[in-house]
């Protein structure tokens, strides 16, 4: 049987759980999943070997993988990754890597796949305003949106082969600049609570932060909030010209739901909207819509969450 290669998603020096979703996607493409783990410490590959439905694991070991560099990672992975169709996660780093690796192999890349039906792959286009289905002839690399495919579940236990590799780093890391707050980034969080112009003032974002701290969420913002208030940095902006987010839960507070904002968050699994205007477009996309001012709703939400979290 042919092999389908999965590039493990690496976050904070470990194999990220979304890798088990990539294994499901590889099965949907029809092929034995081989997981390649970019690492400097091959012991992290054990987590990939524990995923059910994996036929074998290649721990690609190199000090190149200590810091991300697209050229270095693509060359080091290319050297040890078998030929065939490759699946990676549609995170910003892995999309970049997938594009470089595909170009290196002279094959095409299809990003942000949300559905696999035999040889047909579906991805959102025009920021989710339409869907495009394509078919492949020949090998390709595809990236799969996190939180879309079910994680491959059950017991795994495949062998890990450690293979040394090396690559040509093109860029050099000068400095890591930690965020001023401990809070999660919107692009990394499973729950995002965002405020818009309806919050009235940047000072009122403390109410969003309090809820975020209670439930482990990141705080985001609309462009109107970012553009109006200097205290709300662009890094918090969700949408067409901000970050694309795909969390399990997105809570929009005082956000009207402009098309460019929806572009960044409409694929969230659950959407809650709090807005005082019952006709705000955001309500058409909300699973749970609360027509109320944030002044009324947020204290109630905060205390309900607080009592749940114990």
């Amino acid at each position: 049987m042919t092999e389908t290669i999965v590039i493990a998603e690496i976050a904070k020096g470990a194999v990220h759980p979304t890798t088990a979703e990539l294994v499901t996607a590889a099965h949907a493409l029809g092929g034995q999943p081989v997981v390649v783990v970019p690492c400097s410490d091959p012991s992290i590959a054990d987590a990939a070997a524990g995923i059910a439905g994996v036929s074998r694991v290649i721990a690609a070991k190199s000090n190149v993988f200590e810091h991300y560099d697209a050229a270095g990672w693509a060359s080091a992975l290319d050297a040890v990754t078998p030929a065939g169709t490759i699946v990676a996660a549609a995170t910003s780093q892995s999309k970049d890597l997938a594009a470089r690796l595909a170009a290196r192999r002279g094959i095409s890349v299809v990003q942000d796949v949300v559905k696999i039906d035999g040889n047909n792959l579906t991805s959102p286009i025009y920021s989710g305003k339409a869907m495009q289905t394509v078919s492949l002839s020949g090998d390709a690399i595809l990236t799969v949106r996190p939180n879309v495919f079910a994680a491959s579940s059950g017991d795994g236990g495949s062998d890990v082969a450690v293979v040394d590799t090396t690559g040509d780093m093109a860029t050099a890391v000068q400095e890591f600049m930690a965020r001023a707050t401990e809070r999660l980034d919107v692009a990394e969080a499973n729950i995002v609570i965002s405020g818009g112009r309806g919050m009235g003032s940047p000072d009122n974002f403390v109410h969003l932060e309090a809820i975020a701290d209670t439930i482990g969420a990141a705080v985001g913002a609309s462009r109107a909030a970012v553009d109006t208030w200097d205290d709300i940095p662009h890094a918090m902006q969700v949408g067409q010209t901000g970050k694309m987010v795909n969390p399990n839960l997105y809570i929009a507070v005082g956000i009207s739901g402009a098309i460019q904002h929806l572009a960044g968050m409409r694929s969230s699994k659950y959407i809650v909207a709090i807005n005082k205007d019952a006709d705000a477009p955001i309500f058409q996309h909300a699973d749970y819509g609360i027509v109320a001012t944030w002044e009324e709703a947020l204290p109630v939400l905060q205390s309900a969450f607080a009592s749940m979290m114990g």
Binding site: K12, H67, A70, A71, D96, A99, R100, A102, A103, R104, G106, I107, S108, V109, V110, Q111, N120, S123, P124, I125, Y126, G128, K129, A130, M131, Q132, T133, L136, A140, A170, T171, V173, Q174, E175, F176, M177, D185, H234, T241, N248, L249, I259, Q260, K269, V272, I274, F283, A286, G289, I290, A292, E296, A297, L298, V300, L301, S303, A304, F305, M308
Partner: protein, 245 residues
């Protein structure tokens, strides 16, 4: 003095309603504009020229209708405008193939592009082009600065990482704190007169074929509540029904 290229793509206005007719998106009634991130790429390219001298060439792949985005780039301040004449829909492999041959012909040392195009949303072109040219690349760059080498900040887990990027390089640009300049009257006049350098290049066959376009699956109507007190019920449902808390 660097020879700078900036990639610009024509896309439907992000405010436009997208309709599917039969099994293809119908863009006949849609206004077309420069892809929003390409505006940032143009701005960074112009800042690079201001810091280091050199010339900026805007490059697009498209039919004659795409001359409009080149003229827009010219009005903002690029020096020359080049279109690779191609009406076909290209997959990433074919697109990067034609781009890399013309970027090489132009003798560029640095290419700026958008972090993703507003139509594809892919973000493949910058890194893929760099790989074909054997150049360095960074994606989603903000706070780009130009000394002997280029430095750029890239968001990473827990913050951002500043990279030194040796030229030649491809840099795909995010917004960050950038403010883009608007065309002035002189620029608009110059753009009217500017000649587009049209080139034709053979491209490899695409291995990715579009099967169809569809509208996104309609979301079932959600539950709606009046008044802030309902937030408590919603919190319960998020835990018990949606299982997300």
């Amino acid at each position: 003095m660097p020879n700078i290229v900036v990639l610009v793509k024509q896309v439907p206005d992000t405010n436009a309603r997208i309709v599917v007719n039969g099994d293809r998106v119908d863009l006949s009634a849609v206004k077309k504009v420069m892809s929003p991130y390409d505006e940032f790429a143009v701005e960074v390219a112009l800042q690079h020229r201001e810091a280091a001298g050199g010339e900026v060439t805007a490059l697009t792949v498209g039919g004659s209708g795409a001359d409009k985005v080149l003229k827009d780039a010219k009005a903002i301040g690029v020096d020359s405008i080049v279109r690779i004449d191609c009406e076909d829909t290209l997959d990433s492999n074919a697109l990067q193939n034609v781009l890399s041959s013309v970027v090489a012909e132009l003798g560029a040392e640095v290419v700026y592009c958008g972090k993703s195009a507003a139509d594809t949303g892919a973000g493949s072109t910058g890194p893929g082009l760099a790989e074909r040219l054997g150049w360095a690349s960074v994606s989603n760059a903000i706070n780009v600065s130009f000394g002997g080498e280029i430095t750029a900040e890239i968001p990473s887990t827990g913050g951002a990482t500043r990279y030194a990027v040796p030229m030649p390089a491809v840099i795909s640009c995010d917004k960050g704190g950038l403010k883009v300049r608007k065309p002035n009257v002189k620029g608009i006049m110059q753009a009217k007169k500017a000649q587009v350098d049209v080139r034709s290049v053979n491209h490899p066959a695409s291995s990715v074929t579009v099967v169809n376009h569809t509208m996104p699956p309609a979301k079932p109507a959600g539950k709606s509540y009046e008044g802030g007190a309902a937030a408590s019920e919603v919190a319960q449902l998020l835990r018990d029904e949606a299982n997300v808390i």
